[in-house]
Amino acid sequence: MRREMRALNRFGLGARIGEAERLNDPKGWVLSQLSGSSRAGSWASDLPSLAEAGDVFSALRRARAQRDQAALAEARAALREHAVRESTAMLSERVRTERPFLERWVAFWSNHLCVSTAAKQQVAALAGHYERQAIRPHVLGRFDELVLATARHPAMLFYLDNFQSIGPESQAGRRTARRGRARGLNENYARELLELHTVGVDGGYAQDDVEALARILTGWTVDGVGPGSTQEASMRFVFRAVLHEPGDKTVLGRRYRASGVGEGEHVIRDLCGRPETARFLAAKLVRHFVSDDPPPGAVDEIAEVFTSSGGDLQRVAEALVDLPDVWETPHRKFRTPQEWIVAVLRAAHFDDVPDSVPQLLRQLRHTPWAPSSPKGYGDTRGEWADPEALMSRAELARSMSRRFVGRRGNGGLDAAQLLSVVAPEDADAVRGLLTDSSIGMDERVALAIGGPAFQWR
């Protein structure tokens, strides 16, 4: 039963009651989820297009610019509604999916290349579309294609300010300088592209590399938001040559000949292929799927597969599942709040998430697409298991057991059954209380999902 629980909880999004018993080949079940398209299925067909997301985005900007309080209130309400719709759809898919490993894989890369509403509220208009269209289609493809897709998505361009970065010597830069309105370079995205997305902070780059990369990426902007846009623009990625810094640039010792948008494509592919990137990603992946202290041998193995496959993320995913450490060693990972809530709902065979879930996640500091920095949300015990967080989970477990979890199934959910979805060694420790009939059943359900056994995967 231990291998079944590893497959369902370590690689999946949480076992359902009765699911482990039906699983014949745990590892094969995980691997089989990687075949087929990674694109969003029919659940996403009614979700907003980029144009619709752009309308929500632009309405807020317009109301702000015009200082129109009524329009602003309306635009904010529309943004909130849009954000709840997007995050509820995403979370519901995680609750009902039969390919939970694929959803975990999407979530990992979406967080690795995160955009966030925390610093810029308007990102909420674009974040759902970003995950669906920039992240999801590429998670079983090559890493450089994935990063390029994020570099060209308006959510990333807006979130990390590249949309408004102007080459000082570009046509637009010189023109604004002549008018005494110096606008110019913003190195925010370039720095995080190096530090967080590719080679990592120890990747051997210096300030000059950051600035050169920022110059290369000038002109990568958003039609309708960036400099030079018209009112009725599309919100799509656009390369504007008039903003682009002329001349050759050098990043990490490699020279990039002046070639407009091609420079950026070239340098991003180079960064994605560097050995530092392979090491950085391998350590992060092993930390996420195996242990807060990644075993060095496992990291070496994943880095090697990443490099030899040319950054083929499907091969990397398979290699993770093949790691002996995942199946044989006693490592365990503390569930993040999103993982915990999704696991609770999956255990109880929910088909979608109740309306209150976005609010619960906000209270647990894990609102979708809202990490406090471009580093994304953490995934270690140190980052999530502080006393206040455990108490919050205890309180939410009680309220969920009253409001919906306790009412599932025929005559309600059985607390003892919930023990079948956690690791057997964790289950034994709590069995006594959960079968104590002097305690009301809905409290026993709260004890099961709020107790320690349910906090690990």
Binding site: Q164, S373, P387, A389, E395, L447
Partner: protein
């Protein structure tokens, strides 16, 4: 004006001390309370403690330069940005030290490395070290306590010494019997047991927080409500000795703004929050020191989007009755092109560890060997012992 004469000019007022900054920390009577406020994101020291007296300042900041009339002058050369104006009260009562041209001991423009170094108190970013506040709890005599009044446990307070955390979430009410039974379950999990016990203990104090105004985790009331909560924990006679607080939003890459702008509003919330904290502490304020720091300063020049990018030297504050006297403490390097670090940032001349060593020595009456254990590898960094009297 060259650097030397600028320094001389600074000294004339007799308030700011420059040659080698000497800020004295008091042997505060009683137990001592320390609040470490981390401004995550790298706040722009040059737009908070504004060097209007530096001859290069106006040219360097251009349209983002403040005039003398727009700031509250502290001495002849530095003024507080308008958002921090409420702190002139602290200045007049000798409770405010502004630190400038200060930096962590490692040159990085990475938020994450910078915060890791500031929070671990080490000279280099290292994997899994305890936070310096946690090590402080470990080296102090007697049974000392620490609390994070924050969403999540800041690195600075994490480590081997058990600590608490609390944040003002309004979740569903639960009864004690349920929590007792849950406590029994947690006893079977050694990795989580201590943490859950700590959370149970905090519930005894927390119900008082119901009347906190402005609640919520965001918006203008947030800093104030966190500060109020921190004071209510710390002012108890057996309350924690050390608190870690953190506020984000300081990474002002674009449209940083001037008076009333993005940064200024954050500064105003911080200023009001600290004054609320002081009021709420009541008598316990006499033993309390508040330190405000950030992971790095920002570029000396504005960037192309009316903001500032990641830089090096920045500003910070030490606040409390224990400071020797109000002062701007900086070995001011100047803002001329030649003086800037790598031609772009304020050159750091003051190590954050020097300040923190002085603060903890003064606040908790520690020996220098204890202080050096809190900041391993810092023996050669002389603490600013005289920040406090």
């Amino acid at each position: 004006m060259d650097r030397r004469s600028f320094l001389r000019g600074m000294c004339v007022g007799g308030v700011a001390t420059f040659a080698m900054p000497t800020v004295r920390f008091a042997q505060v009577p009683g137990q001592g309370k320390l609040v470490f406020v981390l401004l995550r994101g790298g706040f722009d020291g040059l737009a908070a403690v504004v060097p209007v007296g530096d001859p290069s300042y106006e040219g360097l900041r251009g349209r983002m330069a403040f005039s003398r009339q727009e700031v509250s002058m502290l001495d002849g050369d530095f003024g507080l940005a308008s958002g921090l104006t409420p702190w002139t009260t602290l200045w007049e009562e000798n409770e405010l030290v502004a630190l400038h041209a200060m930096s962590i001991p490692y040159r990085t423009r990475s938020h994450f490395d910078g915060q890791a170094i500031l929070e671990t108190g080490l000279a280099r970013p290292e994997g899994s070290s305890d936070g310096w506040l946690n090590r402080l709890l470990q080296v102090m005599d007697g049974d000392r306590a620490g609390i994070a009044v924050a969403a999540g446990m800041p690195r600075s307070l994490s480590g081997a010494h058990p600590v608490s955390s609390w944040s003002p979430a309004q979740l569903g009410a639960v009864d004690d019997g349920y929590l007792d039974r849950l406590g029994v379950l947690y006893r079977s999990d050694p990795a989580l047991h201590d943490r859950f016990e700590a959370a149970l203990q905090l519930r005894d104090v927390a119900p008082e927080m119901d009347d906190m105004n402005g609640g919520g985790r965001r918006g203008p009331g947030r800093v104030d409500s966190i500060m109020t909560a921190a004071a209510r924990f710390l002012r108890e006679p057996d309350g924690p000795n050390v608190a870690a607080l953190e506020f984000s939003g300081w990474d002002t890459h674009a449209n940083q703004g001037m008076q009333g702008g993005q940064l200024d509003r954050l500064l105003a919330q911080l200023a009001e929050g600290v004054l609320t904290f002081r009021r709420e502490m009541g008598q316990a304020w006499a033993d309390t020191t508040v330190v405000v720091m950030t992971e790095f300063g920002r570029t000396a020049r504005p960037n192309g989007t009316q903001g500032t990018d990641h830089g090096t030297g920045g500003a910070g504050f030490v606040i409390g009755p224990g400071v020797a006297r109000s002062a701007v403490v900086a070995d001011w390097p100047g803002l001329s092109d030649r003086a800037l670090y790598q031609g772009r940032d304020l050159e750091p001349t003051l190590d954050t560890r020097a300040v923190l060593k002085g603060v903890i020595a003064g606040t908790f009456d520690l020996t220098s060997s204890q202080v050096n254990r809190v900041f391993p590898g810092s023996d050669s960094v002389r603490g600013l012992w005289d920040v406090m009297w």
